[in-house]
């Protein structure tokens, strides 16, 4: 259980995290979603007591982080895979961590086994690939068998196999009843990983809901209608009070489901070639909801948002 209340962090005039309140519940994977620079990492560091909040507070299991006795037994975190001394072996890194929270040394070998690093345990961590470093970081997070786990962008830079491994792994941790809080700027990744979403933009809370609700609420559900006699149908649709966007021989209708459009077409004797519901892409949903809260505007967002992946590919290959 993580509870943030009015959490605020200012660096000079820049507000990195602005009056942020949210709750992360046990037994579920909660995604922490926001564009780059939205304040996700800063929030994670404040949860761990590394950065001091300018205002507000955040508690883990009802306590401030520095009040936790042997915190590694309560909170495990992987904020950055490369937070390891490059000349220290993986085992030595975990040994000092275990020692600091009075964990038995055999736990070090156990977590190395869990993440599959046993064969390279005595090699220097500086020679590890990103995927291996990530696994070492996870081993560190699991060391104290904690109830609460924080991961900051855990799939960044991983290959598909590594991504799948992490995704399954987080679900397993949540199924064991743990609190799993994982940040990402990729909504598509979060849609697969997280059951709950805390969405922030420019340090402010945008929404907290289940992933399904978020996607449903965010995506604009439209229906694509194609046929030779669209003019007849069009009037009927406008009478129903819905929005219609016209192209040459197709219409994009929003605000009415495909069943009703089919009925209207039948009533008005309009022949249809196609009647297909369009699910808004997750990226579109994300753009729509985070909207103005992207830190650095490029002027390309609207274009990017309007593109489906196929269009983007087609454009890129031109």
């Amino acid at each position: 259980m993580i509870e943030a209340e009015g959490l605020t962090k200012r660096y000079g005039k820049t507000v990195a995290v602005d009056d942020l309140s949210f709750t992360v519940k046990p037994g579920r994977v909660t995604g922490f979603l926001g564009p780059n620079g939205a304040g996700k990492s800063t929030t994670m560091r404040m949860i761990l007591g590394l950065d001091n909040p300018t205002a507000g507070s955040v508690r883990v299991n009802g306590k401030h982080y520095h009040q936790l006795h042997h915190p590694l037994r309560i909170v495990g975190a992987l904020l950055e895979a490369r937070w390891v001394h490059p000349n220290r072996s993986a085992r030595a890194h975990l040994r000092w961590m275990a020692k600091s929270n009075k964990l038995p040394m055999r736990r070090v070998d156990e977590v190395l086994e869990i993440v599959g690093l046993t064969p390279v345990a005595n090699k220097r961590a500086g020679g590890f690939s990103l995927g291996m470093s990530q696994r070492l970081g996870i081993a560190g997070a699991l060391l104290g068998d904690p109830e609460v786990l924080l991961f900051d962008e855990p799939v960044n830079g991983l290959d598909p196999e590594g991504i799948l491994w992490i995704r399954k792994f987080m679900h397993r941790l949540a199924d064991e009843g743990r609190t799993v809080f994982v940040s990402s700027h990729l909504l598509s990744e979060m849609a697969l990983t997280a059951q709950e979403l805390v969405v922030i933009g420019k340090g402010k809370l945008i929404s907290q809901s289940s992933t399904e609700d978020f996607v449903a609420r965010a995506s604009e559900n439209t229906v694509k209608v194609r046929g030779p006699q669209l003019a007849r149908l069009r009037e009927a649709l406008i009478d129903e009070g819905v929005t219609v966007r016209d192209d040459a021989d197709e219409m994009i209708v929003s605000g009415l489901d495909s069943d009703r459009i089919g009925e209207l077409a039948f009533q008005h004797n309009a022949l249809l070639y196609e009647l297909s519901p369009q699910r808004g892409s997750l990226e579109q949903a994300f753009m729509q909801i985070t909207g103005d809260s992207v830190e650095y505007h490029t002027g390309l967002e609207s274009e990017a948002a309007a593109l489906t992946p196929e269009q983007a590919l087609a454009q890129a290959s031109k």
Partner: protein, 253 residues
């Protein structure tokens, strides 16, 4: 005790402390050997002269002390450290203690080895430890190294960057203090109270061999007695360590 063990594991599981240890001992002993080999007669060699190399060893010790903390900031292991132990003052005190103990041991090994090498090379010279001053001059090196290591940990904690912390310690310790003497009028008086000069007073003060008898450098001009000189040097290190702890507690890791 747990935290001391943690810091011990951290210190000895990387290469640089081992390298600094070897280098510090080699410098002190090597300089003693060079001097013992180059003095014209046994009269030129005495206990203070055999310990002449301690200042170079001291520089290496301060590199060791600074690195012990700046590498944690460099590789962000300080964050993992504070995550594992949120009480930052305990962490830094433990680190300073472990580094000081190591520096003390290095100092003793280096100083007595340097004396041993001098005796081997100049068997005729008066290198017996037959006064309190002689003992202080040799056995005291460990104490000075230990305090200097704490000072370096403190500076490293405040500056955080390896290059910045080490340059500051080296430029101050090896150059700036001596340059202060050149300030007209007050220079000498200020110099009497500068920490490394005072530390030197502890080691070389109140000698039993007449000044200028050996070929070593002139003894310190600090006015404190050797005992107070050591206390003063330790006090400065303690003040810096407290400042470092306060800054680490206040700043984001």
């Amino acid at each position: 005790m747990t935290l001391l063990a943690v810091e011990r594991i951290k210190l000895f599981s990387t290469r640089s402390p081992w390298m600094c240890t070897a280098l510090a001992i080699a410098t002190v002993v090597g300089l003693a050997a060079i001097i013992a080999g180059s003095v014209e007669s046994a009269q030129g060699m005495n206990v203070p002269v055999s310990q002449f190399g301690y200042q170079m060893g001291l520089a290496v010790i301060m590199v060791l002390g600074a690195l012990a903390i700046t590498t944690e900031y460099r590789f962000s292991t300080i964050r993992t450290t504070f995550q594992a132990v949120p009480h930052r003052s305990s962490v830094l005190l433990a680190k300073a203690t472990v580094v000081a103990l190591l520096a003390g041991v290095i100092g003793e090994i280096a100083a007595f080895s340097a004396l041993g090498v001098a005796r081997l090379m100049q068997p005729e010279a008066d290198l017996a430890l037959n006064s309190a001053a002689d003992w202080r001059n040799v056995a005291g090196v460990g104490a000075v190294f230990a305090i200097a290591a704490v000072l370096a940990v403190a500076v490293g904690t405040m500056i955080r960057h390896t290059a910045g912390a080490i340059s500051l310690l080296m430029i101050y310790g090896l150059v700036a203090e001596d340059l202060v003497q050149l300030i007209p009028g007050v220079g000498e008086d200020i110099y009497k109270w500068l920490p490394f000069n005072v530390a030197n007073k502890f080691l070389t003060g109140n000698p039993d061999t007449p000044v200028g008898a050996g070929e070593g450098p002139p003894p310190s001009n600090a006015t404190l007695s050797p005992g107070w000189a050591l206390a003063y040097f330790a006090g400065i290190a303690a003040v810096l360590l407290i400042a470092a702890i306060l800054s680490a507690r206040k700043r984001d890791a």
